[in-house]
Amino acid sequence: MLVFAASDKGGTGRSVTSINLAYRRALDGDDVCYLDFDFGSPTAPAVFDIPDVAKEAKGRGLHSYLNGMTGEALRVDVWARTEHQVLRSRPSGAGRLVLLPGDRTGGEFVTDGASLHRCVDLVNALRREFNLIVVDLSAGRSYAMELALSATAQTELRSLKTRWLVYHRWTRQHVMAAADLVTGERGIVSAGVSLGHDKDQLLGAIRFVRAAVPDLGSPQWSQVPPAQFAWMRQCNRELEGIAAGLGIGRSRVLGSVPLEPVLQLQEQLITDEDVLDSRIANIQTWQAIGELAERLADDKHWGLL
């Protein structure tokens, strides 16, 4: 399965959440690789705690590969290379977890047929080895998004199950922007259709993920003054209304991840150690990401509504 992580804006939580998803699927036994197409702001090396990746990826990362400057994209085995305390020993039953880092050294992106073919070749090689390929795209209507849509429209990749996660924060602006990224002008659907995708099939393969959502039912918010609480609930209802009106209401949402204090301060993995032993992170966050990871692979949650 191929999963693209997209968002209209930066700072939505797309990268951090997707990396956590990849990690959780690997824990569940999937062989996972994570491709960092967001060349502008690489997050994965920090989150996976592999400090030397940026240097190593110079001239050998995905960007260089797609531009034809290296014949092979660098692969980094996360279990073997991480300095993260918890990750260092690959848990029994866990699948492979491999990072293909981006690099900024590849120069300007060349949007030609050659890079499209290289992209297809890469995915073709990866699907022999991995059953989950997660691709983190850059924000907005980017070149990376177009490449993803073109590549998946090629005959070679037609048979590969492909899913799109569109991340947004839980605010009016973010909700509108996310809807627009999918159904708006030059959005995923219209761009995809012009590249040869079937509209319904593409729509059926797109789900939204709400990131950093304040969960008003959680103890975290029980301390706020009543007036504030009432206002927040009112806002929440209005937002649900807006989302539903834009066609991205609950049925199109794969899941939401609650606002997590740990992630507010640091881009990192949420491990079971963080919620059970040191208890720095909320158990709800761990559960929400786990639920997302499950639904991601569950056909029941996908397809045309």
């Binding site: 092979e72 039953g93 073709n124 022999r128 080895e129």
Partner: protein
């Protein structure tokens, strides 16, 4: 064929073999394999059915002009062509090999392309390369600006993998590709082939250092290395599949899900040395001695059979209990 200048000076040979499962739900027939591996119109695909099915593509050439990967970091330019070929064993295991011959001494100056094209599959140094730095370097140095033979082999795998008419990409088991880097130098006059080193390095890389009798065709060495790589891939994949799964747990269907594809697609592929040129057969003997490939293989196969037998007993017992 050796050119006159090579009869006096040593010629090294280096290559890389990549091995992976064909991205297909079933094994291809020889006819299909022939179509898949038809890399050129002007040359034949070689099909053999005994021992075992083996289909070999014609050779293709890739022009290169880059630094030699030398262990002493000396900067010597290499110009010429790298040869590549693909092989499909039992319609199931796909291999791409890229390789070249390198005389330790070439012309002092870069020659026009015609000169290099007259020596296909040869990478000529501009000047001299120290023999051991070249052999060591090829097995260890992978850096920018240096020969990147892996990319050439990978490009061939990718090219073959694009054959949507023959491939459905629905592999029965997930497995990693392996890389085998090899170098060979001439043995002392009168001496036979020998294996100087076989190591497992990181990231699925194997390195092999060989000595081969003078006058050995490079394709014979390539054939040996493909055979080593294929059996090493089988071992690696079996170990990965068996070790990664917590057998002994009660879940019989999960066990069968892992073992089934191994039995259906891999177990019958073991045939070490069957296709290797007789002059190089000694290398397999060494490997069978230590680390003992076949010994390891038979132990793994036994584990698979034991698990299956156990599963059969358990499901029978379950049937009795519920029936």
């Amino acid at each position: 064929m050796a050119t006159p200048e090579e009869t006096t000076r040593p010629v090294l040979a280096c290559g890389e073999v990549r091995t992976c499962l064909l991205p297909s739900s079933r094994a291809l027939s020889n006819k299909e394999a022939e179509l898949l591996l038809r890399l050129r119109d002007d040359d034949h695909v070689r099909v053999s059915t005994r021992p075992g099915r083996h289909v070999l593509s014609p050779e293709i050439l890739t022009g290169v002009d880059c630094r030699f990967p030398l262990a002493n970091r000396a900067k010597v330019r290499g110009v010429g062509t790298v040869a590549s070929r693909a092989a499909l064993t039992e319609g199931r295991l796909l291999q791409a090999s890229s390789y070249f011959r390198a005389p330790v001494e070439g012309p002092d100056r870069r020659q026009p392309w015609g000169y290099y094209l007259a020596r296909p599959g040869t990478l000529l140094p501009v000047g001299r390369i120290p023999e051991s730095a070249c052999l060591q370097g090829f097995l260890t140095v992978r850096e920018e600006g240096c020969l990147d033979i892996g990319s050439i082999a990978e490009a061939l795998l990718a090219r073959i993998s694009r054959h949507t008419g023959l491939l459905d990409y629905d592999v029965p088991l997930r497995s990693a590709a392996t890389k085998l880097w090899w170098t060979a130098r001439p043995a002392a006059p009168g001496e036979g082939a020998s294996l100087e080193r076989f190591t497992l390095a990181e990231d699925g890389v194997r390195t092999v250092l060989l000595r081969v009798p003078r006058g050995t065709e490079i394709t014979a060495v390539v054939g040996l290395c493909e055979d080593l790589a294929l059996h090493d891939w089988l071992l690696t994949t079996m170990v990965e599949k068996l070790d990664d799964n917590g057998f002994g747990s009660a879940d019989g269907t999960a066990t069968l899900r892992v073992l089934g594809p191994l039995v259906d697609h891999l177990l019958h592929l073991w045939m070490p040395g069957a296709r290797v040129d007789r002059t190089l057969g000694a290398v397999w003997e060494v490997i069978e001695e230590d680390p003992g490939f076949s010994r390891q293989w038979h132990t793994l196969v036994q584990r698979v059979r034991d698990q299956l037998a156990l599963q059969a007993v358990m499901s029978q017992r379950q049937a009795l209990a519920t029936g």
